[in-house]
């Protein structure tokens, strides 16, 4: 009886200590998957794909609408053109990613020190549209910082044309600056 009990105890302890090992057959299949790269939108000039660093609105009288901004690549002699037949944007947005992006525009405050800009508007359209004569989608209603989901999407490896327009504020003989940001978001 004593021996049996001892054997039983040892077996149970062994069952506790020795881990169960299940026999498994080697049947390995390699799987592969990859995802597309996410790259920011490129802000490029009117004609080719040169990166644009700055957009400038020409000087004007207080309260006047400035609708001929230009980028640093095309220069002041080749500004944005509003026209019912031959409009030209200030810059183009190019999506080189293999995913499409919803576009959000963001500007910082124009009026940190003086009332430089009363409002800013935009149009974001297909590049083959050349009858943009009105720019009236609101980017900032008071010249202050704003972030606007445009509702426009740029497909993979596609372009859009961006038009901008500001109404100058009440300040006289002053200049100011604001940054424009093109933000992409997967749909």
């Amino acid at each position: 009886m004593k021996i049996l009990t001892s054997i039983g105890t040892l077996v149970l302890i062994a069952a506790l200590v020795v881990p169960f090992q299940l026999a498994s057959a080697d049947n390995i299949a390699t799987q592969q998957a990859s995802t597309n790269k996410a790259i920011t939108i490129h802000v490029v000039d009117k004609d080719d794909d040169t990166a644009v660093a700055t957009i400038t609105f020409p000087q004007g009288n207080p309260g006047v609408t400035i609708s001929n901004p230009y980028n640093n690549v095309n220069g002041a002699n080749d500004p944005q053109v509003l026209s019912t037949s031959a409009s030209e944007p200030v810059v183009r947005l190019k999506n080189t990613a293999t995913v499409s992006y919803n576009i959000t525009l963001e500007i910082t405050n124009w009026n940190a020190t003086h009332h430089i800009v009363a409002s800013e508007d935009y149009e974001l359209v297909d590049i083959n549209i050349t009858n943009v004569s009105v720019v009236d989608d609101v980017l900032s209603s008071d010249g202050g910082a704003a972030i606007v989901a445009t509702g426009v999407s740029i497909g993979a490896d596609a372009y859009k044309a961006l038009y901008l327009e500001v109404v100058l504020g009440t300040a006289v003989g002053k200049s100011g600056s604001s940054t424009l940001t093109i933000l992409g978001e997967t749909p």
Binding site: T9, T40, V43
Partner: protein, 208 residues
């Protein structure tokens, strides 16, 4: 004849060189290795850290920074804006072609945060076709040196705050997961006790 071939070769060489320079001026921007940081899990008071990497693809150096953004939407409750929980280190960066830079997204869950999903209205928000369910984002943007035109990406982020762990529940879970082990241990203990009792019974008559 020789001149024709020579001239043609020269023109071809010039054109190819020109193409090289044109290719060099092509605008590129910055890529990122995550399009979303969804459903990060943590307990109230806990800090979650996640790495995110940017890669420069432009020959010219770009300067930029990280920040957070809350997409305010009518009808949102207080669980949608978690921008105050999030910091990104380092915040500012410069990057050029071929460079990769690693950043840490630090999410500090407040001690009093209720269990549930924060920063988005659904756990599916990061997926394609669900942009309307996103609320809190981390954002990076950069521009060419001296530029005022930035380009960036909105990266949705959400946190699943877990209910505080109950010590008793942990014990119950442990018991559930180790039922066989516990049963065997009980059997062993019972057998050992029986053996000891028998030995004592046998020793008593000897003492008498």
């Amino acid at each position: 004849m020789h001149c024709k071939i020579y001239c043609k070769s020269t023109i071809l060489a010039v054109l190819l060189l020109g193409l090289l320079f044109i290719a060099g001026s092509v605008a590129l921007a910055t890529s990122v290795d995550r399009i979303a940081l969804p459903n990060l899990e943590g307990y109230p008071g806990e800090t979650i850290k996640k790495k995110i990497t940017l890669e420069g693809t432009t020959p010219d150096e770009r300067s930029g920074f990280w920040y957070t953004h809350y997409k305010k939407t009518e009808g949102d409750n207080d669980q949608m804006d978690i921008t105050s929980w999030i910091t990104i280190e380092p915040k500012e960066y410069t990057i050029k072609q071929g460079e990769t830079k690693v950043f840490t997204v630090i999410v500090k869950i407040p001690k009093n945060a209720r269990p549930g999903l924060w920063g988005a209205t659904s756990e599916e928000a990061w997926k394609e076709g669900h942009s309307g369910e996103r609320r809190t984002y981390i954002v990076f943007k950069d521009a060419l040196a001296g530029g005022n035109v930035y380009s960036g990406l909105l990266i949705p982020i959400s946190v699943k705050v877990l209910p505080k762990p109950n010590p008793l529940a942990q014990a119950v879970d442990f018991a559930r997961q180790n039922t066989i082990t516990i049963a065997l241990a009980v059997v062993v203990i019972v057998l050992l006790v029986m053996m000891l009792l028998k030995r004592k019974r046998k020793e008593r008559p000897r003492e008498q």
